[in-house]
């Protein structure tokens, strides 16, 4: 296990390098530069700016410079937010996104797994249909429709919760964004759990357990849950990606100052360094996360050997 972990750790570095390279060169190909603005800069000033940010050098040289900076923990200056460096922006946005995404993930897992299990246990009953129908609304209504509806109802009509922003960072500001972000994932996870739970419940070892006369409840908790969760664990990686993607919309709609918003704004503004910073940050995050997912998978499924 330790050897496997170490191998994974070492393997992450080339992954990271390739990822940085792809991201770096891709954004440079996109038309439009960071200093194209509505008001054209006089050529002399534009030349100075390009020089100041080393954008006048050949690309490979810029790439080398960027990597060297990264080793020192320097993501470079932001082109758009002239007062800030990318490291500052990422560090400001990440805790917010982490809180939002982490809570949404937790909510999705807890509610999704419970609902899916219940539906599986009562397959083809009214409870099953009800749970699935509710979870399906989560998938069927895009979150850019759901979020404004929630705002309209809970913030504008009822006045219970803030309509947007982070305010002083109190939990009240997070309720609506977390729910909007979690809803589609609740739906996916509950469906996934239901599917695999049904499959597991029909398998031989469960039949054996039942035949032994074990109480149904123990059958579920002791034997069925672990294998039934395998697809859910597999799905954790995509779920993280989905939550990161979803947070772009949710952060936009709720005006939450997280990384997702920086990312979209950065891409639209051709803020090369900011986009790269966010991409690299998320990349590391996903690599680390997938590492843990693999570990959990190995722990849950004794048949998988590394």
């Amino acid at each position: 296990m330790l050897k496997f972990a170490l191998k994974r750790f070492l393997g992450a570095w080339p992954t990271l390098l390739i990822m940085i390279a792809i991201a770096f060169f891709m954004i440079r190909v996109a038309p439009g530069g960071p200093f194209d603005s509505e008001r054209k800069l006089p050529p002399e000033i534009e030349a100075r700016m390009l020089q100041a940010y080393h954008l006048d050098e050949p690309l490979y040289q810029q790439f080398g410079r960027y990597l060297a900076g990264l080793l020192k923990g320097d993501f470079g200056p932001s082109f758009q937010y002239k007062e800030y460096s990318v490291s500052e922006l990422v560090m400001a946005g990440f805790p917010v996104s982490l809180r939002l995404g982490g809570l949404a993930m937790l909510l999705a897992l807890v509610v999704g797994v419970s609902a899916g299990t219940i539906a599986a246990l009562r397959q083809n009953t009214r409870t099953d249909y009800a749970v699935m129908a509710v979870s399906m609304t989560g998938i069927s209504i895009p979150n850019f429709v759901m979020a404004p509806l929630l705002i309209l109802f809970f913030a504008v009509f009822l006045g219970w919760l803030p309509a947007g922003g982070l305010g002083d960072g109190s939990a009240a500001n997070l309720v609506l964004p977390v729910i909007s972000l979690a809803l589609p994932q609740i739906a996916y996870i509950s469906r996934l759990t239901r599917g695999s739970m049904i499959e597991v419940l029909h398998s031989n070892f469960i039949r054996t357990a039942r035949a032994k006369g074990l109480p149904e409840r123990l059958v579920i908790l002791r034997h069925a849950i672990k294998p039934a969760l395998l697809p859910v664990v597999s799905y954790l990686g995509p779920a993280t990606a989905a939550i990161i993607t979803g947070s772009v919309v949710i952060e936009q709609i709720f005006g939450v100052p997280g990384l997702g918003r920086f990312f979209v704004q950065g891409a639209l503004n051709r803020d090369y360094t900011l986009v790269l910073g966010v991409v690299i940050f998320y990349g590391v995050l996903i690599i680390v996360f997938n590492f843990f997912v693999d570990m959990i998978y190995a722990l849950l499924d004794p048949r998988v050997k590394y």
Binding site: M26, F144, S196, A241, G260
Partner: protein
Amino acid sequence: MAAVNPVSSSAVEGRSLWVDARRRLMRNRAAVVASVILISMTLAVIVGPWLVPFDYDFTDWSNIAVPPDLASGHLFGTDSLGRDLLMRTLYGGRISLLVGLVATLVSLLIGIAYGAIAGYVGGRVDHLMMRIVDILYAMPFMFFVILLMVLFGRNIVLIFVAIGAINWLDMARIVRGQTLSLKRKEFIEAAEALGTPTLAIIRRHIVPNLLGVVVVYVTLTIPQVILVESFLSFLGLGVQEPMTSWGALVNDGAQEMESAPWLLIFPAVFLAATLFCFNFIGDGLRDALDPKDR
């Protein structure tokens, strides 16, 4: 609907299983109703535009943003540019369904092949293949698509490719995970002992046994792809106006949900109903295909 494809391609497994499955599926009322709704909606979307008297980009200046109304002939009302919403909903449906089907098919084919090979062969190959997936995963999807749209402009083929090319990653991972646990099973070991070539084992034993997961996954993927397209529309990167999709219509409608609710309600009903139907059919198929449930 795409979920039916793997069924027919695996018919070698033995006829009775699929006959049984169909019988079980027909007994599942939710799935049957969903299929009927979905088929009629698909037909409406294909045929309907010929029956509506307005063009999808025709601007009726005397009927701007009118609610549903029989007298003016705008059964679903018009949008803020006086365009007939019924026509636009049908037109948008074509695009949404097309995107959902084509992109899912793309991701399905790549994903199953990739995941099954990686999971079964294992070792270095698996490691390398999964590293590649990791690298692609670590590229935030949004970034990738925004960039593609920016570089090559709005193009419907590009949307297919972009969404399909991203989605196979999920498929590949799930298939690999299942394969990893499948390959320790007795019948695979038996096949190996008999000296069956690797590719044949994957094709004959691994892939068919993945069907349960794949079917569930496909039913999750089609609606998901339709949603991704709407997500792009939300960011202003979807299909180019005056063309439209359900996602784009719903997004436009959501802006005016209080002042012109019909703009949200009609396309949203179509979109949600389609997603619902796919999910119910998927569930039905899943239950029907499970051979252990005899």
